[in-house]
Symmetry: C2
Subunit: 278 residues, 2 copies
């Protein structure tokens, strides 16, 4: 018998995946957590019914959310990941030689536990307790209220702006991120789909632009997400992604998507996306 | 009652669209032809159950398959579109001032007829009988066998390599395209998904590379197609897409996706795609 699961990307559009097996299904204080194995995507983490990451294409999201900002900053030593409980982003962060401390603040301990057990390829840095890693289960919003002038780079690896992720798209949150960054720090956040979240992108771009001298949006191609095209927004106090010398980026990075040509080209926006950030 | 249609992108993955209305359903000698109105994608052309083009995102495919090659060539006068019966590609082609003759050879007259009636935004150049347009209903494969040294640019705007489109991905076809082009001509073809058609892309890249001194693959983001990321391959006798001076491309082109930054950046390939064309 063929079993299928359809994720409703909008109320009129779904991505239907044939499922081999449900490996885990449970509930935390914050959300429903599941791991399924799909025939096409492989093992997938699903939160509140929404596909978060899959073995098939996770390399794209994790490489692009980590390496692009970490190579904009000339010497990132202290990095924070907010969210990212599956461990994929921190796995990429710790690869950077300059990084000495890779902090993670994830609100849902169940996501970390389940990823360590069922998605070891993604959570490898968590499982091996990487020496650079400082993992804290707690509220990233609260953490941003409490720290000041601490981080070179902050990566906001959050889920959608509903449920636990909602407060990570507010003016107040961005102000606290600004405060938590050092004088020349920068942050990046996944900022959803340029097809299906246009108002959100316009709003957060305006917010971030009001606080940071440099605001840039870049793109990556992620089959698992609505529309297959995904935005990331950088707010930077000093370094401009468009002005960096890509000659200082190593060539053989052992990455499956990211390379130094993409470091620049991912900021070249189609006209309909340019309109959103004008 | 909510009615849904699921297009099976692979046998284990589907794109499910909620449908408002079926506007046309029929059959030609070659394929089943339908036009439906989906809530998310708007009016869509569907051939043999596969989504071909939609009002929502057609601008992306049509701008990228037409403008990228037409701006690689310094002075394209005589252009041929093989396929493209919906009219979207030729609509973009005739916008180029240098173009004097825009020929179209589409095998299925029903596709042209249905697009003119139900997708007028896409088929506008067909409906207005644009003065540059020379439309012929016939077999593009046969046409390539019969002509020599005629075209500056050939655009192969075909459907998938099953059904009528199958013969447009063969070594023999590429040889005939080479013959049909002028001494400094170039062609482009839509070459499917870098996620789901990897063997095909490797094979056709090898074929085209064996005949043309310059072979380049570029990418565009098309939500309607599997994986949301789509390939286009250029075979060129003289002009290299990577070497053109984008300064000669106008800035205000009235396009919704294409712009001159993309003319270069669309050739920057993620590592997993680079591997396919090595």
């Amino acid at each position: 018998m063929e079993l299928w699961y359809t994720e409703y990307q909008t109320k009129n559009l779904g991505l239907a995946a044939r499922i081999k097996e449900t490996l885990y299904s449970g509930k935390s204080k914050f959300q429903e957590v599941a791991v399924v194995e799909a025939y096409e995507f492989g093992r997938m983490l699903v939160l509140d019914g929404v596909f978060q990451t899959s073995i098939f294409d996770e390399f794209i999201y994790h490489e692009m959310i980590a390496h692009v900002p970490l190579f904009v900053h000339p010497d990132p030593k202290t990095v924070l990941v907010i969210g990212g409980g599956d461990g994929g982003t921190i796995r990429e962060v710790v690869k950077h030689q300059s990084v000495e401390v890779a902090e993670m603040v994830e609100i849902d301990g169940l996501v970390v536990e389940v990823s360590k057990k069922y998605l070891p390829e993604i959570s490898s840095a968590l499982n091996e307790n990487h020496p650079k890693l400082q993992l804290k289960i707690g509220d990233g919003i609260k953490h941003m209220q409490e720290v000041e002038n601490k981080y070179d780079v902050i990566i906001v690896d959050c889920s959608d702006p509903i449920g636990p992720g909602k407060g990570l798209f507010t003016h107040e949150f961005y102000q606290n991120v600004h405060k938590a960054l050092k004088l020349d720090g920068l942050f990046v956040q996944q900022t959803e789909s340029p097809f299906y979240h246009q108002q959100l992108i316009q709003q957060l771009t305006a917010d971030i632009t009001s606080m940071f001298p440099i605001t840039r949006l870049y793109l990556a191609n992620i089959p698992l997400y609505p529309g297959g095209l995904h935005c990331f927004t950088i707010g930077s106090k000093k370094y401009d992604p468009l002005s960096i010398d890509i000659g200082r980026i190593p060539e053989n990075l052992n990455t499956r998507y990211y390379n130094r040509e993409l470091q620049k080209s991912c900021f070249a926006l189609p006209n309909f996306v340019k309109k959103l950030v004008r």
